[in-house]
Each structure stands twice: as structure tokens, then as C-alpha cells.
């Protein structure tokens, strides 16, 4: 029985949240839906952890859906690269469950709450599906599941403008999804297969054709849109700003990260590093876009008046860091990019949760509205400060580990210019984090305290925020397990394709 369960885990980690979603809809009560969400997301997290261990031992876990042998059927493949992202997604989802109860209740009408939890479960199922699948078309389907549910989640934001930003995201996201589908269609046309491992075997014969080159281009552009890399980032600030706070935290920590995961799954596993970065100049293109993202995102962040929007722009900058690491296509670079992908997910999740707790209290998210909250909400403000330090990259936080790894990878690859830009972007992040901290601690509470009826944020929100902060510190102090796992993942990605 136990072995049977272990054998079925790759599919159960998708199926549990997927089937919990209709159960939420049937339950119809806010509390019951929340309970189902928590049970499903924590179960998914537990399975993700077991899969991570299994992938570490076996190197790769494979599962044939419907017992159709790959490459004909849909194959689920979990290696260390996917298991790490899977851990991030399910972990953040599980903590968001603790956080969401009170946060959602304060922003969304109670008769709609069950829909939020059902949509979050669908989004989780989609994101998990992207990480575990070994089938190119299946990846597209899961990407659409997660995207469609996140459009609906963002549209549920408390301001009317949430609808507009959701629509903006829908247009950009659909363009991205269509590009991905066209790309997959092109490589399917040339090879007749959709299984990623099989594609990797068959593509080298047709590398020289325009069709495959165009396929790679479409896939890279499509997934860059989903990942909000610089010229395609336009949907992100509005979406994160107007989404309900718990949704901002969940999506900011997972959705773009999974898109980056999918992008480099295609680039390294399907096309191979030698083709994308040797024959074709993908490396220099991505590195240039990443550099622009870092600087422009950080600069834009400084001038924001809304904290959620500030964090969203900072996310654009951080996507630049992550892509810069991967774009080096060296084992050190890819592992640094992956570590930053994970750490940034943890940092941004924690920061959005802290800000969400402040929004829960003052019902607004502009920096001026947060004035003096350092005294009124000491724990939440402290969490924001620690998260902010991690975002800047202060030693003993997770942000330091990944930025250090990035810097040394860039140094080894002799990209001194990008290295300098990374430093500048980090200095800029001191300014924007500093602006929020200044408002929190060095400005008096406004005299009009009518809306300050609440005290500190509710326990669930505190626990979730501080759990993410604690993981940040633990990684900052003892990063060896994460770095080793990332190095293993990088070895399978770059070693296999080069």
C-alpha cells in the first residue's frame, strides 16, 4: 500500500489540489472551502517533499499517465530541478492557506470566498502540473489552467481597477500562451513527438531548420511574457497591486517563478544548452534583457507611492537577476539563477504577506498610509524589515546567498558589466526598501486613528509571514543543502544538454 502510494505520488500531487477545487465549490461555505484548501495544499506540500527526497535518491522519478508508455502517453518527470520549484510552489501555497482566512475575509464578500479558495486550488494544480510534467503540450495545458485561474483571482481584488488589471494580464497572458503553443506546434511538426525527453533526442537532426529556430523563438517569447521579463512586464505591476493581498503573495511567489522554470526546462532539456546558447545567440539576448530588467525595474520601484506596486516593480527587477543567472548557461550560473528563483519566491512571498497584514489593518497600501505602523504593528513591521534586508541581500539572509552565488557566477563568466549593474540594482533596492522602512518607523501615526481599530494582524497571518521570514534566515545562515540541491539540478540541466 505504501509503495503503491509512493508510485502514484507524481500524479497525486496534481490531482489532490485539482479535485479539491470542485469540492470547495460543492462545499459553498467559506470556512469549509478554506479547510479543504488547507488540507489539500498541505498534503501537496508533504508529497512535494517526499518527491524531492525521491528525486534526490533516484535522480529522476517518472510516471506514465493512463499507463500509456512514454513517448506516446503523457509522462510526468520529476528531477531535482522540478522538485525544488515544486517545493517552493506547494510550500508557499500551504502557508498562504494559513494566511488567507482573515486576509480574504477582509477583502472579499463572504458569499464569494469559496470561489477564491477553489480558484487558488486550480491555480496551484496548474503550477504544480507545469513543474511535474514531462510533456510539452501538457505543460501548455497546465500553464493555461494556472493562468486562467489567476486572471479570475486578480479580478476579485477589492478595487474596481482590479478588473482592468486582470484584463490587461489576460491579454498579455493569452498572447504569451498562444506564442508558447505556436512554438510547441512548430517543434511537434518537425519531430512528431511531444514528450520532452523524446523531443531532446529528435531535435538535433533538424536543428538547422528555420522551423525549429522559430519554435525556440516563439517559446522563449511566450514564456518571457508569462515570466514578466522586461519588455513584456507591463501586466505585472497592476496585477500584483490590485489583487487581493493573499493572492498577491501567492502569485508573486510562484507564478512568474514557474514560468521561468518552464522557460529553462524548454531551453535546456528540450533544445539543449549547446543549441540555444552556442548555435543561437539566446544567451546574450537574455542577458541584455535581464540587465535592463534589473535596472529599470529597480528605478521604477523607487518612484512608486504604493507599497504593493513598489514590490511588484522590484519583482520585475528580481526576474532580471534570475534570468541573468540562467542565461550564463554555466553550471554555476544556472544553479545561482535557480537559488535566486527559490529565494526570491520566499522573500517576495514574505514581503507581500507583511504588506497584506498592514493593508488588512489600514485598508490602504500607499506608503503614506503606512506611516507610524512600526509602533502600531511591531511584529509585522519587523517582518517587513527582515524581508526587506533579504531583498537587498544583507548577509545572514537568503537574499545574500543567492546574490553572492550570482555575483561569483557572473565573475567566473567574466561578465563584469552585468555584475556592476547587479550591484547598482542592489544599491537601488536599499533606496526603495528604505522608503518603506522610513514610513514605518520614522513617521508619526496619523492623528486620525479611526481606522486603527485593529491591533496586530491575526495569528494566522503572523504565523505564515514569520514562517517565510524564518526560512529566509535559515537559508541565510545554513545554505548548504539548498546550494547542493541547486548544483545537482544545474548539473542535470547543463551537463545533459551541452
Amino acid at each position: 500500500m505504501i509503495t503503491a502510494f509512493f508510485n502514484q505520488m507524481p500524479v497525486l500531487v496534481v490531482v489532490v489540489p485539482l479535485l479539491a477545487a470542485p469540492l470547495c465549490v460543492l462545499a459553498h461555505r467559506a470556512f469549509a472551502a478554506w479547510l479543504i484548501y488547507c488540507l489539500a495544499s498541505w498534503a501537496a506540500f508533504a508529497m512535494a517533499f517526499l518527491l524531492f527526497v525521491e528525486a534526490k535518491i533516484a535522480g529522476q522519478v517518472s510516471y506514465a499517465v493512463g499507463n500509456w508508455a512514454p513517448p506516446f502517453g503523457i509522462e510526468l518527470v520529476i528531477d531535482t530541478y522540478s522538485a525544488l520549484v515544486l517545493l517552493l510552489v506547494t510550500g508557499v501555497a500551504a502557508l498562504t492557506g494559513l494566511y488567507a482566512r482573515k486576509s480574504i475575509a477582509s477583502e472579499i464578500a463572504i458569499e464569494r470566498e469559496y470561489l477564491v479558495f477553489a480558484l487558488m486550488l486550480l491555480c496551484l494544480a496548474g503550477l504544480v502540473g507545469i513543474t511535474v510534467t514531462g510533456d510539452a503540450f501538457n505543460l501548455f495545458v497546465f500553464l493555461e489552467i494556472s493562468s486562467l485561474s489567476s486572471y479570475a483571482l486578480i479580478a476579485m481584488g477589492p478595487k474596481r481597477r482590479a478588473l482592468l488589471s486582470s484584463f490587461q494580464y489576460l491579454i498579455m497572458g493569452t498572447v504569451g500562451g498562444t506564442f508558447l503553443l505556436i512554438g510547441i506546434g512548430l517543434i511537434f511538426m518537425m519531430t512528431g513527438t511531444l514528450n520532452m525527453a523524446d523531443l531532446a533526442d529528435r531535435l538535433p537532426e533538424v536543428y538547422a531548420t528555420r522551423t525549429v529556430q522559430a519554435g525556440l523563438a516563439f517559446i522563449v517569447v511566450g514564456l518571457s511574457l508569462k515570466a514578466a521579463l522586461m519588455p513584456a512586464h507591463i501586466w505585472l505591476p497592476n496585477a500584483y497591486t490590485y489583487a487581493p493581498s493573499a493572492i498577491s503573495a501567492f502569485i508573486a511567489a510562484t507564478a512568474t517563478k514557474v514560468a521561468v522554470y518552464a522557460l529553462f526546462r524548454f531551453v535546456f532539456t528540450v533544445f539543449g544548452a549547446g543549441y540555444a546558447f552556442g548555435t543561437l545567440p539566446l544567451g546574450i539576448v537574455l542577458l541584455a534583457l535581464a540587465a535592463v530588467s534589473m535596472i529599470a525595474g529597480s528605478l521604477a520601484s523607487i518612484f512608486q507611492t504604493d507599497v504593493k506596486r513598489l514590490l511588484a516593480w522590484s519583482s520585475v527587477a528580481q526576474m532580471g537577476y534570475i534570468v541573468a543567472g540562467f542565461a550564463l548557461a554555466t553550471p554555476a550560473g544556472v544553479s545561482a539563477g535557480l537559488v535566486h528563483l527559490l529565494n526570491h519566491g520566499l522573500i517576495k512571498g514574505a514581503l507581500f504577506m507583511a504588506v497584506g497584514a498592514m493593508v488588512w489593518r489600514v485598508r490602504a497600501s500607499s506608503i503614506n498610509d503606512l506611516a507610524g505602523l512600526g509602533r502600531a504593528m511591531p511584529l509585522t513591521s519587523a517582518a517587513f524589515v527582515v524581508g526587506g534586508l533579504s531583498l537587498i541581500g544583507v548577509p545572514a539572509t537568503a537574499g545574500f546567498i543567492s546574490k553572492w552565488a550570482l555575483m561569483s557566477a557572473l565573475f567566473d563568466a567574466q561578465h563584469y558589466g552585468v555584475m556592476a549593474l547587479l550591484l547598482v540594482a542592489s544599491l537601488l533596492s536599499i533606496i526603495y526598501v528604505g522608503r518603506v522602512i522610513e514610513a514605518l518607523y520614522f513617521r508619526p501615526l496619523p492623528d486620525d486613528v479611526s481606522h486603527h481599530k485593529h491591533g496586530e494582524a491575526p495569528l494566522g497571518m503572523q504565523v505564515a509571514t514569520w514562517a517565510l521570514i524564518a526560512i529566509n534566515i535559515v537559508i541565510g545562515v545554513h545554505a548548504t543543502p539548498e546550494l547542493e540541491a541547486a548544483a545537482r539540478a544545474a548539473a542535470t540541466l547543463v551537463g545533459g544538454g551541452a
Partner: protein, 158 residues
């Protein structure tokens, strides 16, 4: 609608065959073009036609929003539940051969297509209700209130 006699009579004649045709497409899907998605859309079209001719309230009374909610969730559960059943019977997810000794692939496909049909029909009709109900009062499915945080509206957007 009392004045549109032709429309009323024709749709009265057409709606029942449409429902029947939906069932045909549903259950003949694995031999001929069709299947759950198409059947669900055809079924929804019949209800939508009914709503257009005889009024949304009449359609709502015939197919209630609660029924649609249960249908939309239940269809997905039928599909996923089939997969879970195959796991419990010792196979992989959606390994239909485990379901029946003979013709497992055949019957398994019919079951999941049924789930698809129910979900698609429910969601299509629900979308129609939402659009048709726009701007009406005392409509629980279409309240424009996106939350109770009305005082949280100080936009300062660039």
C-alpha cells in the same frame, strides 16, 4: 415575447430535438466526431435558446444556478474521480483497463466524457446567466460589489 409567435413555436419544436442530439453526440463521441465538450455546448445551447425566447427567469427556474454549481463541480469530480478509482484499483491515473474486465478503455472514456459534458454544459449556461443578468436588481449571482472594503478606494496610480 408574446408577440413573436413564430419564434416561440419554432423554438418549442426545436429545443427537445436539440437536447436529444446533445445526448447522441455525448454517447456516440468515441465512434464519431463529438464527445463531451461538443455535447455540453449543444445542451447549453438548447437552454440558452429557451432563455432567449421565454425569458431568463424561466430558464433559471428550469435550470437553477445551484444545479449549475453542482454540475460544474460534479463533472470535474466524475472525470477526476475516475482517475482516482483507477488508482485505487491498483493502476495508474486514468488507466481505464482497471475499471472493467472487458472494454475498460471504452467505458472509461464514456464516463469521463460524461463528466466533461456536464461541466461544459453547466459552465456555458452559467456564463449566459451572468451576461443575461447584467444590470438587473436583486440578482445574487451578479452583484457588482467586489468585496466589502468600500472605503479602500484611494487610487494613486501612475
Amino acid at each position: 415575447m408574446r408577440e413573436h409567435t413564430v419564434l416561440r413555436i419554432v423554438s418549442q419544436l426545436v429545443i427537445a430535438p436539440m437536447l436529444l442530439y446533445a445526448l447522441y453526440v455525448q454517447f456516440h463521441g468515441e465512434y464519431s466526431p463529438g464527445g463531451g465538450f461538443q455535447a455540453g455546448v449543444i445542451l447549453a445551447t438548447a437552454i440558452i435558446l429557451y432563455g432567449l425566447i421565454f425569458g431568463v427567469e424561466a430558464a433559471r427556474a428550469a435550470v437553477t444556478p445551484t444545479l449549475l454549481r453542482i454540475g460544474a463541480a460534479g463533472g470535474l469530480l466524475i472525470y477526476g474521480g475516475t482517475g482516482v478509482a483507477t488508482i485505487l484499483l491498483g493502476g495508474n491515473f486514468l488507466d481505464y483497463d482497471r475499471l472493467f474486465a472487458h472494454g475498460g478503455q471504452h467505458y472509461g472514456l464514456i464516463i469521463i466524457e460524461l463528466g466533461v459534458g456536464i461541466t461544459v454544459a453547466s459552465v456555458m449556461i452559467a456564463i449566459f446567466y451572468v451576461f443575461a443578468g447584467r444590470g438587473r436588481q436583486d440578482d445574487p449571482d451578479n452583484d457588482e460589489d467586489h468585496g466589502r472594503a468600500d472605503d479602500y478606494d484611494a487610487d494613486d496610480v501612475s
